[in-house]
Symmetry: C2
Subunit: 227 residues, 2 copies
């Protein structure tokens, strides 16, 4: 990690499936063309106000993409993990018809920013990169299908159990308010409160202010899979 923020990363092209496979010459060109940016946790990466004209490869960190209704309710559409794929998807696509979707850095984030002409050139020249980009789109589209399915046909207790497990990962506790969880699932705070109260009564979780301990993960998993 050097200090200057433009060439701070040894060779970021190593990080992405789509660039790893490229010839050395192309990779060097990319490294010259790209800039590295760092964003603090909580920063809006893109949104209705803030429409990016550049491409955005997530080198490190995590970005949450969510949508907000007129009524102020929010729902999380998907998350982008580092190396996993790029954010261009929602970012640039929606440039034109800026919808009410936004991307928020959930952690401190390091990203590679590529000017659009360079991106175009790359898509044209490099088959592996093209595949990478299409895969990214594909993944997003599938995520969205999943959201539609859940919201249209799923029960909230099941969805909440799923999400609690996902957010916890290996941890046994989550730091999130009821409102946070409501925003995850696109529902109301009161609904979450009630379901969590029920979970607690059933011994699945243990609540305290702003945090939820997953007491019986396997029972939660059973519930989550009773889809």
């Amino acid at each position: 990690m050097s200090a200057d923020g433009t060439t701070g990363i040894a060779d970021w092209t190593e990080r992405f499936k789509g660039t790893r496979a490229l010839p050395r010459a192309v990779r060097d060109r990319l490294i010259r063309a790209a800039r590295i940016v760092r964003l603090e946790k909580g920063t809006q990466v893109f949104g209705p106000d803030n429409v990016p004209d550049r491409l955005f490869f997530l080198y490190d960190g995590r970005i949450r993409v969510s949508q907000t209704s007129e009524g102020g309710r929010e729902i999380v559409l998907y998350r982008v993990e580092a190396g996993d794929s790029c954010v261009l998807t929602t970012a640039c696509m929606l440039a034109e018809e800026a919808y009410n979707a936004e991307g928020i850095a959930e952690t401190d984030v390091t990203a590679v920013v590529l000017p659009k002409p360079e991106f175009d050139r790359l898509v044209a020249e490099a088959e592996p990169f093209r595949k990478f980009v299409f895969d990214a789109y594909s993944r997003r589209l599938i995520d969205m299908l999943r959201v539609v399915d859940d919201v249209a046909f799923g029960r909230i207790d099941v969805r909440l159990a799923e999400r609690l497990l996902a957010l916890a990962g290996d941890m046994k506790e989550i730091a999130a308010t009821h409102q946070d969880l409501a925003s995850e699932l696109g529902t109301a705070r009161e609904v979450i409160s009630r379901v969590l109260a029920d979970f607690q009564k059933r011994g699945l979780v243990q609540q305290s202010r702003g945090r939820i301990a997953l007491v019986d993960k396997s029972a939660l998993r059973a519930l989550a899979e009773s889809a």
Copy 2:
């Protein structure tokens, strides 16, 4: 219209924004590489069972893309209109992780089928075609955002009013059962029945078996826009 089904259409490359702008030589190559297929109304264009390995340009007709839940409930995700864009989006993307989405020909359909290698070559070579493809993706993604927004935050009476107007177009009557409409919106038949009964009581529509007359379109529009 000639008879042989392989060269039946004078010059389909004229039909799409993404191919119209290509050099004559490339267009001729495409015409040689592609096949023309016709599908009857009601045919499944793609689906969990029927995963296409080729690209699909909608020359004429309309395709409805919908998703079905385990419980058998269905929701329409979007429609693809002729010339407007290609269907590859959902079709090929989901090839890998065949989800429970399917495309149905809503009318008789004429399509241009392009082998994937030819498609790849085209994306690589031709900037206008690339833009065409990305625009198509973009459109789909925006459609999906809209669906999520509606389902998560919208009221069904409003959504139904919208959909009735959309389905009617210039017509003043729609041929659709309550179940059809329920599948459009991803809800249950009974719900549609109740809302329509209410609409009728308010003089907005007039029902008969399998058809709905939009009596007061402007009132419906008002309701639809009260989002």
